[in-house]
């Protein structure tokens, strides 16, 4: 399958291996495929399709939260393979999604073949295993195999490969990491032999190299077969709790499964959290640990796009993502103080310290500098984090987190907003001079998304604070008053939200008037023009419908899709999945499916040309949301799950398995009938009516779902 072709081939459906991503690797697409076939976990990840001495490679291992002095995620090349002769033709790779193992076959010009299997242990995320089997002619010089003695060498004779130690930045935020690799040989009865390496990561302590070696030795004592068994056990458990099937479209099923795989591989071991200690956080950048793009920096991509899926699939992991923000609350408070405001304000772009690291300028494709204002003005990130906390609690049921760190974060965010908003003489409350998700338009007032998310933040903070009696009643009342008085741009006469004050006065240009979306409209027409027209970068008002539909006018979704969707350039990788989700909610399934496919194939087909720089984490999380929230209409609320399937006929029977409050829930939709099976009692609300049980059924009558 051509990595660059996102076309659908119905003739191949019957032969689609929906549990693997397979590619023949040529020079041109090597680096994109290297991204697709990275193996890793929450602690570190490896991408490497090079052979030794190849310099034109993006091969590297990335360690989570490990930055250099310039806040760049450090990458080093831990594993290479050596070919005595050159490559003979394309190599073949197969990422086994079911077991989390990469198989790679490299044929050499001397007739030998190297078959490599590689995985980062799901059972012990600090350990990685590489097994190389050589097939064909024997006795080649220059191979990494030193001898064929089947006796594993003594520990003192091990050949250690030490990869760079990261620079210690300062005592508070230091992150040092080192990977040590052990090699030994296992002779085989047929004369061939396996070369096995174990790599280990250690970071943060004073003697990380010794710690990494200790981990390698422990892994060696366990033995490769046991490491592999433990790894597979974890993946079996993971897939028992999460998966999506589309009987009518195995290719889309595979693409969605790939996204789910990438989320599941981030699962951290579920260790008890001691509130008195700083837990191990998880810093997840815009490209995860799969590439250098965005240098490992954290954006709302994590909180709003990836975290919601993990709150369902791996709640303990989602908790660690939230703790990344918790650990930087002090910096956020300091920033608010510097503005003369209470509470906390989080950065748009974050790395080691939690300080704002958004660049202030970029060079456009016209060679001219463009001022970047998102770090100054894209404030909604603070409200997005609050949303992520509430969403996490609704999905995971983690009341303990809500009562402690979640409460504090919600309260500090709310306090910031009380000082950031402006109260006009007529009692209306405004938020001026911001940037919304649509980054084409800057210095705007009363951006709908920002204001609605702030409203959500204030209301949830008041509710949670009341539950735990944490804040004075007068302050909570103040939050609710502000929330109620915030303008959101809604016009009841038209049913439309004005994205920001004055938006409808801009020149009314459709996106297709510039070029077929998706596109970088600002690059095509220039910054000055884009700010004068109604073309927007990505869903903004519709993003509010997606995240907080209960705070938007439900009867007006169509009116706002009719207006904003044709004016959306989709000039961001975050856009397609959200567009799909909104279109599904509006029952526009044909259009929704096109955008879902684009999102699902964005990295698999390197649609953007930037997949070599890493997987688009927000798109991956967005795909899960498009299926969960969009196709199936599943939402977690405080005490129930909403369900409202909108399954296109072309998908056939759809089965979606996910986690909810320590239960595994499977929703299966087949035409006009659907079932809900849960490992424990669950309350589901359909068309306003709630039922509780482990095994439930609904049916669609006259286009409306109801309890059977």
């Amino acid at each position: 399958m051509d990595v660059l072709s996102p076309t659908r081939d119905d003739q191949l459906e019957s032969s689609v291996d929906a549990w693997a991503i397979s590619r023949d690797v040529t020079g041109r697409d090597r680096r994109a495929i290297e991204t697709l076939t990275s193996v890793g976990g929450p602690a570190w990840s490896v991408r490497d399709l090079s052979v030794e001495d190849e310099v034109d490679s993006r091969a590297a291992a990335f360690v989570a939260g490990c930055y250099d002095h310039a806040d760049v995620l450090i990458g080093h090349r831990p594993w290479t393979i050596r070919l005595a002769a050159g490559r003979a033709g394309p190599e073949r790779v197969r990422l086994d999604l079911r077991h989390g193992v990469l198989e790679r076959t490299v044929e050499a010009t001397d007739g030998s073949t190297l078959v490599e299997h590689r995985f980062v242990s799901a059972a012990d995320p600090m350990i990685g295993v590489q097994r190389i089997r050589r097939l064909g002619p024997s006795g080649h010089e220059g191979e990494q195999v030193r001898d064929c003695d089947s006796t594993p060498p003594a520990a003192r004779d091990l050949e250690w490969s030490r990869v760079e130690t990261a620079v210690r930045i300062d005592d508070e935020w230091c992150s040092t990491a080192i990977v040590s690799c052990d090699a030994h040989v296992e002779a085989r009865a047929d004369g061939d032999h396996d070369h096995v390496r174990i790599a280990a990561v250690a970071s943060g302590g004073p003697d990380v190299e010794a710690e990494a070696r200790r981990r390698v030795l422990m892994a060696r004592r366990r033995g490769i077969p046991e490491l592999e068994r433990a790894h597979r056990r974890v993946w079996r458990r993971r897939w028992a709790g999460a998966d999506t099937e589309f009987d009518g479209d195995r290719e889309l099923e595979r693409s969605v499964r790939f996204a789910t795989y990438r989320l599941l591989e981030l699962e951290c071991p579920d260790v008890p959290v001691d509130e008195s200690n700083t837990p191990a956080e998880l810093a997840l950048g815009a490209r995860g640990l799969t590439g250098t793009a965005y240098r490992g920096h954290v954006f709302w991509d994590t909180d709003v796009f990836a975290l919601p899926a993990l709150s369902s699939l791996a709640p303990a992991t989602a908790r660690r993502l939230l703790d990344y923000r918790w650990n930087r609350l002090g910096t956020a408070v300091a920033r608010a103080r510097a503005e003369g405001r209470p509470g906390a304000r989080f950065p748009w772009e974050s790395a080691t310290t939690g300080l704002e690291v958004t660049p202030t300028e970029m060079i456009g494709l016209d060679g001219r500098p463009i001022e970047i204002l998102t770090g100054k003005l894209e404030l909604h990130i603070t409200a997005d984090i609050a949303w992520a906390i509430w969403n996490h609690v609704n999905w995971s049921g983690d009341e303990r987190y809500l009562a402690t760190r979640g409460l504090r974060l919600l309260v500090e965010a709310a306090r910031y907003w009380t000082a950031r908003v402006e109260l006009d003489g007529d009692g209306s409350v405004h938020v001026r001079d911001v940037i919304g998700p649509d980054e084409y338009h800057v210095h705007v007032d009363d951006n709908t998304f920002t204001n609605v998310m702030i409203r959500h933040n204030l209301e949830i903070a008041a509710r949670v604070a009341a539950r735990f009696e944490a804040v004075d009643a007068s302050e909570r009342a103040r939050w609710l008053d502000l929330a109620d008085a915030l303008v959101d741009g809604f016009d009841r006469a038209t049913g439309r939200y004005e994205q920001f004050t004055g938006y409808f006065a801009l020149d009314d240009v459709l996106a297709t008037g510039i070029a077929p979306p998706p596109m970088s409209a600002d690059a095509l027409v220039g910054t000055d023009v884009i700010r004068r027209i109604q073309v927007i970068k990505q869903p903004d008002v519709l993003m509010a419908y997606h995240l907080v539909p209960h705070l938007m006018d439900g009867a007006s979704l169509d009116a706002n899709i009719d207006h904003y969707h044709p004016r959306t350039a989709h000039g961001s990788s975050l856009s397609p999945a959200i567009a799909a989700a909104c279109l599904f909610r509006a029952r526009r399934t044909e259009d929704a499916m096109r955008w879902l496919r684009l999102a699902a194939d964005l990295d698999l087909c390197d649609v953007t040309g930037t997949t070599p720089g890493g997987l688009h984490l927000a798109t991956i999380g967005g795909v899960w949301q498009a299926v969960t929230y969009g196709v199936l209409g599943i939402r977690a609320r405080e005490s129930d799950l909403l369900l409202d399937p909108v399954v296109p006929d072309e998908l056939g029977r759809v089965s979606h398995r996910f986690g909810y409050r320590r239960r595994v829930v499977t929703v299966e939709v087949d035409g006009d009938h659907a079932t809900i099976e849960s490992s424990g009692p669950v309350t589901i609300t359909v068309a306003g009516e709630a039922r509780t049980g482990r095994s439930l059924r609904i049916e669609r009558v006259g286009g409306v779902w109801q309890w059977a």
Binding site: T292, L365, G367, P518, S520, I561, T568, R588, V607
Partner: protein, 260 residues
């Protein structure tokens, strides 16, 4: 046979000295000899000067030629008749000096190489880099997207960095400097970047045809760039596929009306 030769076509115009010096610079860098061909003004009556230069460029051992764009200084204008004939007929790279251009200075120099992303042009350019230009200095590669080929997401310098790195990788660029990616009309953008970066010269691949409005970049560079221009002949018909990878991606992506 004998050593390789760099041909210097000199006349009695003010650019002649710069032509000689450029030829010597290039020859020294690649270990070749300089051969001068005198372009006699009176020969323009019956075309003997054209035949002389073109014939000399076609002889065995000549690896490159250096000549002035035209006799007249101080204004933009078309190529002189000798230069026009030479550039459209020669099968070797030609270094053309506009009237006011300084000679190519002693290496290492910095040369701007606009690439259109087509395989034929790249093959020709990289061959010349290997055999000639590489000895002179380093290349700064420039690629100009058009509306069809521009990447769909270029939201930050990070995106541009990755795109530039991948474009380099995909097109075999070997340079110490990152590829410059721009969007716009090729000829105008090339001239803008020349003004911005101030390279010592330009390297342009072309199909040696000015008819039917072709070769606008070459025509305008020769007229306006003000620096020595290495014209690299590209064989075959011009490839209009442009930046195939990005163009293909955009063509196969969704089109949506967005409303019922």
């Amino acid at each position: 046979m004998g050593m390789s030769r760099v041909l210097a076509a000199v006349d009695d115009s003010p650019i002649a000295d710069a032509v000689r010096r450029t030829a010597h610079t290039v020859a020294t860098a690649v270990g070749a000899e300089v051969e001068e061909v005198s372009v006699v003004p009176d020969a323009s009556v019956d075309g003997r000067d054209v035949d002389l230069v073109c014939g000399a460029l076609a002889t065995d051992g000549v690896i490159a030629g250096v000549l002035g764009a035209r006799r007249l200084r101080g204004r933009h204008g078309p190529l002189g008749h000798v230069a026009l004939a030479a550039v459209t007929r020669a099968n070797v790279p030609l270094i053309v000096l506009p009237p006011d251009a300084a000679p190519l200075r002693t290496p290492p120099v910095r040369l701007l190489a606009p690439l259109d992303g087509t395989p034929a042009t790249e093959r020709a350019i990289w061959a010349v880099v290997r055999d000639l230009v590489g000895a002179l200095g380093d290349l700064v590669v420039l690629h100009v997207f058009d509306e069809r080929s521009v990447p769909m997401f270029v939201t930050s310098d990070e995106d541009r960095r990755i795109l530039a790195e991948e474009w380099s990788h995909e097109h075999g660029v070997v340079s110490s400097e990152p590829v410059v990616l721009r969007l716009g009309r090729p000829a105008e953008t090339v001239l803008e970047v020349v003004r911005e970066l101030g390279p010592d010269g330009l390297v342009l691949g072309w199909h040696r045809r000015f008819d039917d409005g072709r070769a606008e970049v070459v025509r305008r560079a020769l007229s306006e760039a003000g620096v020595p221009i290495v014209l690299v002949p590209v064989n075959g018909e011009p490839d209009t596929s442009g930046d195939d990878a990005h163009g293909e991606r955009r063509r196969v992506t969704t089109e949506t009306e967005g409303s019922r």
